[in-house]
Symmetry: C2
Subunit: 349 residues, 2 copies
DNA sequence: CTGAAAGCGCTAACAA
DNA sequence: TTGTTAGCGCTTTCAG
């Protein structure tokens, strides 16, 4: 009549109740529920399991963590969950960490240092076993002093002594250039940002120049457009291009720093009757979801978001087991997503 | 030489060390750090604070939670983080819960029941103070037995006894229809899914019929297209429309069940020379990011993702304080996002 | 206002 | 193989 309702959903049932019902000690129950395979006789094992079943007992991992110093929680700190680039990385991390028993907390910093430090605080309150992050500030000392294994996502050279995974921008740019070259383009323009602080952006410019040199093509400074990598930059780019004398004879293709720029530039140029894929070749970078929905669909260099996420997760897993192992860095190549904005000029020759 | 470095980042410093340094008891330190404003003299308060500062002490909220039965963690269970619709809701939840001291865990179920139950397990392991979720199964009993305050996101009628927030699909459909009507359209077609299980989808059809009736317009069953709400459905829709006899005379506008359908249909129709916003009006639903990047940009009915997220978070906050309060339900109206795919036919009259 | 002691639910020596 | 005894770091009576 009292307490014999197995469906009571209140989780008042702890290891203690299980022990009582099974007629064993708490430690024995503990041995059963902590998968460490502590030595328990087959007989008692069954008794305990039956009691657990009967009471609907659930292990309280938070309490367990207090003792073992593990939380089975990992923080993924990224600039913006709602941005597909980052959310897809987060998803990949989640997918590889959860089967290992970890829960993933996603924190959006919205590029704000203040929000970043709030997450660092959290991390220091012993909430997480590990952290995967993309920091605005790249305050390496801060990250190293977190007292928690950390993996960086990005491609900053500042981070010398810390695990890193990211995209190989040099290669990603080159692969796009190469594709333009193969399809018969010889007058390639580049649109990218020259934001001083974000030094990795100029990697695109470096790859561009290297490429021209390698192919023995002339470098025309007027074809290196400097714009912000957002929608505004795309419109600006269209304007700059159109402002160029004899532009149609000087450029046959446009390599854009990212897809947003490519898409807005493309839409802007159309207003002047210039159609991407017909009058001018355009190629973007990132492969955001919108890129396949534009008209015509955008050819672009895809950044391997999934691989990045998976690699970061695996690296963290390793680092959590062996905090003192050698620092690793992984740069993944971009992949060409061929759609309809690059003209095949070989046919025309 | 040993241990006298105040910057040692290992968080070995607990309440105990602080107490020693400040020359008080652990309880006193506890009173200081738990914002409950326990009575502490101004003098000791200062001593303790100084000690905390000096040692770089951080409160271990996990340990505290063991005692207080609070984890300050909230689970947001959604079908897919990488889908903008859901990630924006998650972001809003995060933005309103974090200032209250909660950490938000985002869990993606990918529409799988199995993954859902894994999260229910987690919730039962006393990890979370509350849960905000969109369930595939809508197993209300299960959710109620979680033993944790829960708020549902969606618009399922099944959920009678549980807090819910969602979009008012009936109204959202109507507002789009109304806009078409205002701009002079009288031959409106609707494309939606008739998936039996997802009964809320047929809300669109209901709103459609109601609207026609209200305006005294005839209902032509051939103009109610039934397609899946994905890219494939969009192409299918284009095919069906084109297959209709005299379609150009029978329909002047197309209301699509969601943006994906609208965008793919629009791109497909263009192949036959039919341009949205010129030859045919098209309107979507959701306002996904890609919608503003299409050419022409898509007019659509925006679902108030942010408001939904904020409301869900606030509701959960309330429910966590008062678990027995009356069940609440909030449906938010859709908003028109006017862009370029709807023709203003009034001019032509 | 402050301290001592008990305990949240679990794990980890150490005995038995 | 099992039970006993201490804690993990914090909060919370209950005295003083």
């Amino acid at each position: 009549m009292y307490g014999n309702d197995p469906n009571m959903s209140k989780q008042k049932i702890s290891i203690h109740e299980v022990a009582r019902l099974a007629g064993v000690s708490k430690s024995t129950v503990s041995r059963v529920i902590s998968d460490k395979g502590g030595s328990v006789s087959h007989e008692t094992l069954e008794k305990v399991q039956k009691a657990i079943e009967q009471l609907g007992y659930r292990k309280n991992i938070v309490a367990a963590g207090l003792r073992t110093q593990k939380t089975y929680m990992v923080l993924v700190m990224i600039p913006d969950v709602a941005n597909p680039f980052w959310s897809e990385i987060a998803r990949a991390v989640q997918d590889t960490l959860e089967p290992e028993g970890y829960s993933v907390v996603i924190g959006s910093t919205y590029w704000s240092e203040e929000r970043e430090s709030r997450y660092y605080e959290l991390a220091q309150m012993a909430r997480f076993d590990g952290v995967i992050l993309n920091s605005v500030t790249d305050n390496i000392d801060l990250i190293k002093n977190l007292g928690v294994p950390a993996v960086l996502i990005g491609e900053r050279s500042a981070a010398q002594n810390i695990d890193t995974v990211g995209t190989d921008t040099l290669q990603a740019t080159k692969i796009g250039m190469e594709y333009l070259y193969e399809t018969g383009h010889r007058k390639i323009a580049l649109a990218t940002s020259d934001h001083g602080s974000e030094r990795y952006l100029s990697l695109r410019a470096r790859a561009y120049k290297d490429f021209l040199h390698e192919k023995g093509l002339p470098f025309d400074p007027a074809l290196l457009f400097s714009v912000n990598l957002d929608a505004e930059g795309g419109r600006e780019l269209a304007k700059q291009l159109l402002g160029l004398q004899n532009w149609a004879e000087r450029v046959d293709s446009l390599f854009c720093g990212n897809d947003i720029v490519a898409i807005t530039a493309m839409n802007e140029l159309r207003k002047y009757g210039i159609i991407a894929g017909i009058d001018l070749s355009i190629i973007g970078m990132d492969d955001v979801p919108a890129s396949s929905q534009t008209y015509p669909p955008l050819t672009t260099v895809r950044k391997p978001r999934e691989r990045i996420g998976v690699a970061a997760a695996q690296l963290l897993l390793r680092r959590m087991q062996d905090p003192l192992g050698a620092v690793e860095k992984h740069l993944f190549p971009g992949e060409l997503a061929i759609r309809d904005t690059v003209i095949d000029r070989r046919k025309k020759r």
